[in-house]
Amino acid sequence: MALFGQTFITGILMGGIYAIIAIGMTLIMGVMKIINLAHGALMMVGMYVCVVLFASLGWHPYIGMLVAMPCLFGIGWLLQKYSIERVFKVETILPESQVLLTLALGLGITEIIRLIFTSDYQVTYTPFSAKCFYAGGMSISAAYLVGFILAMVFVAALHIFLTRTDLGRSVIATAQDRDAATYMGVNAGRITNFTFALGTALAAAGGAMLLPIFYTFPDVWHPYLAKAFIITILGGMGSTVGALSGGLLLGVAESFGATYWSPGYRDVVGLIIFLLVLLFLPGGLKKVIGR
């Protein structure tokens, strides 16, 4: 029973951190209607900003996050404005060229980081990382728990932002119907840039929450990108609540897969869920939850 509880709690805590990365992606996907494969690489850049701050100033990643997010917001804005937006206007045989562009951008960014920091693993080890709480035979890592709480704070703040402020509502309006939003006086192009930047900043926040738990290296993002789009599909495009529930679900499913099947197949669990959702639940949890 303790094993079961441990697996469940670890899954939930991990899922919260996945969710914050995935919410960034789901927002971008909702507004732009493309899959942004540069998302993972931008998360990795956020992690490296934190690593640099940790190494030079000794800032804990949770504080470094406050710097990393604006940095990545800016980078995201520039990327969207000068590169991805251009491709939207171009007529091509294959509409997937935008997806490919984001992927090429992501791989290019990875190589830039590799040139600067080499492929070595970077660790931001703080005494905090090893701290645990014990309850009923289960141990809960402090870094997981704080990461999860921070992630939930971000999700709540984002939800309020999206539903209560003008800017947030414009984002939702653009996601729902771009043309209609334009007629209502929303500057859809600007909102797209803003959404891309916001999503990237959220990814950076997710990366910073992962740092005390894991190490980082330039290719660290591949599994997280996969998880982010699995969650996006699972939760439904553009839905924060869907992404949150999808993230928690994926975290738990992976955790159970790792405990009861094999740690090596942990990532396969997510991919199987992904295929099943694509086939049997198109539209994702958003359809089930009803928002």
């Binding site: 491709v87 045989i93 997937e96 040139l115 996969a226 990532d267 396969v268 991919l271 992904f274």
Partner: protein, 323 residues
């Protein structure tokens, strides 16, 4: 005057010259150039195969490494379990790729556009993880090591790769000049309209997938025999195989016959050439080139040939509605 007539038929003349060159010249070249040519032929095969499904039929696959890896592992597993020469993989590999490809197609063709791409991307990753972890049956992360039949001699491999590349181009050419070709393009242009006109779209997508998987698998089998070593991280690599296949097609021009040929050749030259010149930074340069290409020549060199010519003549295109 017969010769003049033949020369006038350019569509026939150019391939013939090219054919003579690629058959006759390589024996006189050095080992490194021959190596490049072998890789080039392999990539031309893969790009042509990808182009059939992605460029012509419009099902952009981000997971063709599945077929490449299965093609390579077809021979690899025969060697691993029964000690059979990996040359039998030239038959077993592509067949394995097709056998696995059919259920993949049946499941994934229900999805469209980016969802199809993502589903295959996920499948590619899943295959990589399974092949890495299932040690008892698939060999695990150590991969499969074989030995080369001809040692350091490269020429036989070259002719095999060349034959396969030529065969793949020929098959795609014949397909695209038959009823199937028109069906494929109509599915790409508008799937709903195609369906409304009575084209069974899923079945015709399968007809595009099967040769595509077959030839990608064949390229994988050649790789297995030529490199004599495979492991899951290499043959099921997302950025190394799946994405590069797409980029090679995009460089040349998706949905054209010559696009993948040119793209595959340029890709290998660029990739190897840059690596030889500048070292580890090559991948970054390649990605920058890829980004610029997608941004400015989205239909590739062949597809946007008119655009390139116009740019060199420095003549502004006459827009009717203004820009």
């Amino acid at each position: 005057m017969a010769e003049i007539k033949i020369m006038a038929k350019k569509s026939w003349f150019l391939p013939a010259i090219l054919g003579i060159v690629v058959v006759a010249i390589p024996p006189f070249l050095g080992g490194y150039i021959q190596h490049l040519l072998i890789l080039m032929m392999m990539w031309i095969t893969m790009a042509t195969a990808w182009n059939l499904l992605g460029g012509y039929t419009g099902c952009v696959s981000f997971g063709h490494c599945v077929f490449f890896g299965l093609g390579a592992y077809g021979g690899g597993l025969l060697l691993l379990h029964w000690g059979i020469s990996p040359w039998w993989g030239m038959i077993a590999g592509p067949i394995l790729a097709v056998i696995i490809g059919i259920p993949i197609g049946l499941i994934c063709f229900r999805l469209r556009g980016p969802y199809f791409a993502l589903a295959l991307l996920a499948l590619g990753e899943a295959f990589r993880i399974v092949f890495t972890n299932w040690v008892s049956v698939l060999g695990g992360a150590c991969g499969v090591v074989s030995s080369r039949t001809w040692g350091v001699e490269k020429l036989p491999y070259y002719y095999i790769a060349l034959a396969i590349a030529a065969l793949s181009v020929y098959v795609v050419y014949r397909l695209m000049h038959s009823k199937y070709g028109y069906y494929f393009v109509s599915i790409r242009e508008d799937q709903d309209a195609a369906e409304a006109l009575g084209i069974p779209t899923t079945r015709y997508k399968m007809y595009a997938l099967i040769p595509s998987a077959f030839f990608t698998g064949l390229a994988g089998a050649v790789w297995m025999n030529y490199i004599a070593y495979i492991d899951p991280e290499v043959v099921f690599n997302l950025s190394g195989i799946s994405i590069m296949m797409i980029l090679a097609v995009m460089v040349g021009g998706a949905g054209t016959l010559w696009g993948p040929i040119l793209g595959g050749a340029i890709f290998v030259l660029l990739n190897e050439g840059i690596r030889a010149a500048v070292g580890p930074i090559s991948y970054l340069i390649f990605m920058v080139i890829a980004c610029l290409l997608i941004m400015f020549l989205p239909d590739g060199i062949i597809g946007d040939w008119a655009k390139i010519k116009r740019a060199f003549r420095r003549k502004k295109p006459a827009y009717v509605g203004g820009e």
